[in-house]
């Protein structure tokens, strides 16, 4: 694939990490320091089972945050990621449990439904020129309602689909290395993140994603079909939400139709902590991944320290503001 307008040609690794590599290093250093801090504060924190619990708690939010990253880099926003995830989970439930189809078809249906809904959001934004905030707010509500309608407001269980819960709960790594029972859900998160990083760094779609966020008008004037590329990004993000839907449904062994509202904000928080700019044009998947991990470590660590729940929320909010502020200060100096 050709890369548009690249004056330098960094190595694949550097491209995956982004040019501002040391910024990611900073976020990474914060993550390590949180881990060390919590380990000193509580002997129960640094156990294999707790680390796995943290990774598992990251998996769904991480995948959603990757989807949100793509859209945010174009200068847009996607508020529908949480309820779209639920919608896709419900679709999987209908296909697998109500219609009794085989497992792969259910997974494909969920991802397909995600891509289609993403395409709808993309069409509203690109063709109908509705601001992304409004278009995806509308989608968020539509999908929340549809999930309840389709499921008849009851959870759909996957007991008749053997192996479905293994998608998230099982552990391929653990089968090979019994000492490291990392759940498949985490593996899927890393695969999704790697794929998204590759698309952003090495493909035309990736280059246009950044270009749309930097200066959409210039891209359009240079003869690029910006509508097409924008719709492609929203579809891709939707498909990734479909994967998140499978992950959460598998983890709960059920599609919970009322779940999902509020998840978009946590995904956006992870994206922002990871250094992606809400004004578009700049961001990395690796940063988002670290951002999602920071959120999960913080939540888990405060719980293990038995910090009162009211204060957990206060601390998390403060950390988001501090992390973004520190990032801005650093950039001014640079």
């Amino acid at each position: 694939m050709t890369v548009v307008n690249s004056s330098s040609t960094p190595s694949l690794f550097a491209r995956l990490i982004d040019t501002g590599a040391h910024q990611k290093l900073l976020a990474f250093a914060s993550l390590i320091m949180l881990l060390i801090g919590f380990s000193i504060a509580s002997p129960n924190f640094m156990q294999t089972s707790n680390m796995i619990a943290i990774l598992q708690a990251t998996s769904v939010n991480g995948v959603l945050a990757v989807a949100a990253t793509l859209v945010i880099i174009t200068g847009g926003i996607d508020l529908s990621v949480g309820t779209l995830m639920t919608f896709c989970a419900v679709i999987a439930g209908v296909v697998l449990t109500n219609l009794g189809m085989p497992l792969p078809i259910g997974v494909l249906a969920a991802i397909g439904a995600g891509a289609f809904c993403g395409l709808c959001s993309g069409t509203f934004v690109a063709k109908m020129k509705i601001p992304p905030f409004i278009a995806t707010l509308g989608m968020m509500l539509i999908l929340k309602g549809l999930s309840l309608v389709i499921s008849d407001t009851r959870p759909i269980y996957f007991n008749d689909t053997p192996g479905f819960d293994q998608i998230s709960r099982g552990s391929l790594i653990g089968d090979i290395f019994p000492a490291l029972p990392i759940p498949n859900g985490v593996l899927i998160l890393f695969i999704v993140a790697l794929a998204a990083a590759y698309i952003l760094g090495r493909t035309v779609l990736g280059r246009y994603t950044f270009a749309l966020g930097s200066n959409e008008e210039a891209v359009r004037l240079s003869g690029v079909n910006t509508d097409f590329w924008k719709m492609s990004v929203y579809s891709l993000a939707g498909a990734i939400c479909g994967i998140a839907g499978i992950l959460i449904a598998s983890r709960l062994n059920s599609a919970q139709p009322a779940l999902g509202l509020g998840y978009e904000l946590e995904a956006i928080a992870a994206v922002v902590i990871g250094g992606t700019s809400l004004s578009g044009g700049r961001g990395t998947v690796l940063g988002t991944l670290i951002g999602a991990l920071i959120m999960a470590v913080l939540t888990n660590g405060l719980r293990v320290l038995s910090v009162a729940q009211e204060w957990q929320t206060v601390v998390t909010g403060a950390i988001i503001i501090l992390a973004v502020y520190a990032d801005m200060v650093r950039k001014k100096k640079a």
Binding site: M33, A41, T299
Partner: protein, 314 residues
């Protein structure tokens, strides 16, 4: 670099300061993972747990997701609670199935699990501390019979036909009427999902169809308020309304006489009994398979009684 390091350092320090009561390995520590946190009902459960924590000198924490749809968040909370190697765990499952792998993990580690508020569909919990909804609804039936003079037509506006509480409260009421009061006829049972407006419409339809109705039982807060609204919109004043739970609107209706009275659960007792049973189970003592945390009937005569007022919420 320095800035970020300072910030994280400061944040960790804040976190440490806030966690004044970190449970050490030797201390008896019982985390409660509930269905909710910020609702008045759950705060009352927490108050009961705190009371037991002080009385028995055990450390507890009380956590629950922001709303009752966040099944995965509750699982994460349970995982963090397990990581702390607790003495025992109190758990009110949002979805039994989703929690089973973690509950099994607790069982393997030898950590007793106490279910509270609603049961867990599994044999892992050693006991369940909850309201005996069947007995509570039977009491509602007795009160209804007493107020309408032992004969006549009544109706039930229930909150749902599938959940444990919905089924138990409906059947507790219906069976009691059938067994003990042959002259009372239950003309209909309608379901309003606990939604105020839906229950209001249902009530009006029931009253239209049965102008000679003597009383209505509403099986939860939303249903009961809906019944009150429906009855007053229809301009009826001689109907006996019995409600369930509390909340400001229901308390006002009882004070003003619109509602005859209501059953209240004892959320404080649920929290207290859960911690007590957890402690006993961890010491190897026998605990009953089900702990009834109690309930009361309250009306305008005893609504301000300290014992009753303590378990009511706004």
């Amino acid at each position: 670099m320095l800035t970020r390091r300072h910030i994280i350092g400061a944040a960790s320090a804040v976190a440490l300061m806030l966690s004044g009561n970190i449970a050490s390995a030797q201390e008896t520590y019982i985390p409660l993972v509930s269905k909710g946190f910020q609702h008045q009902f759950w705060q009352a459960v927490k108050a009961g747990a705190d009371q037991a924590s002080e009385e028995f000198g055990v450390a507890i924490t009380f956590e629950g997701p922001d709303n009752e749809t966040m099944v995965d968040r509750q699982i994460d909370m349970l995982a963090a609670a397990l990581a702390k190697n607790p003495t025992a765990i109190g758990f009110a499952a949002l979805d039994s199935q989703a929690a089973i792998p973690l509950l099994r993990q607790a069982q393997e580690k030898g950590i007793p699990v106490i279910a509270f508020d609603s049961g867990v569909d599994s044999d892992i919990p050693v006991t369940t501390a909850s309201t005996d909804n069947i007995a509570a609804a039977s009491l509602a039936a007795d009160k209804m019979a007493e107020k309408i003079g032992g004969s006549g037509k009544v109706a039930v506006v229930a909150h749902d036909q599938t959940s444990r509480t919905g089924v138990d409260r409906r059947d507790g009421f219906l069976n009691r009427i059938k067994d003990k009061y042959p002259d009372i006829e239950v003309v209909t049972v309608q379901y309003g999902a606990g939604d105020h407006l839906k229950s209001t419409e249902l009530t009006k339809a029931i009253l239209t169809a049965n102008p000679d109705l003597k009383g209505i039982f509403g099986t939860n807060e939303g249903s009961a308020i809906g019944v009150v609204n429906g009855v007053s919109e229809m301009g009826k004043s001689d109907l006996v309304i019995i409600g369930y739970d509390s909340g400001k609107a229901q308390k006002d209706a009882i004070r003003s006489g619109l509602m005859a009275g209501a059953i209240t659960q004892n959320p404080v007792g649920i929290g207290y009994e859960t911690v007590k049973a957890a402690l006993e189970a961890s010491q190897g003592k026998e605990v009953p398979a089900h702990i009834d945390t109690g309930f009361y009937y309250y009306d305008s005569s005893n609504i301000d009684d300290p014992k009753i007022a303590a378990v009511l919420y706004d």
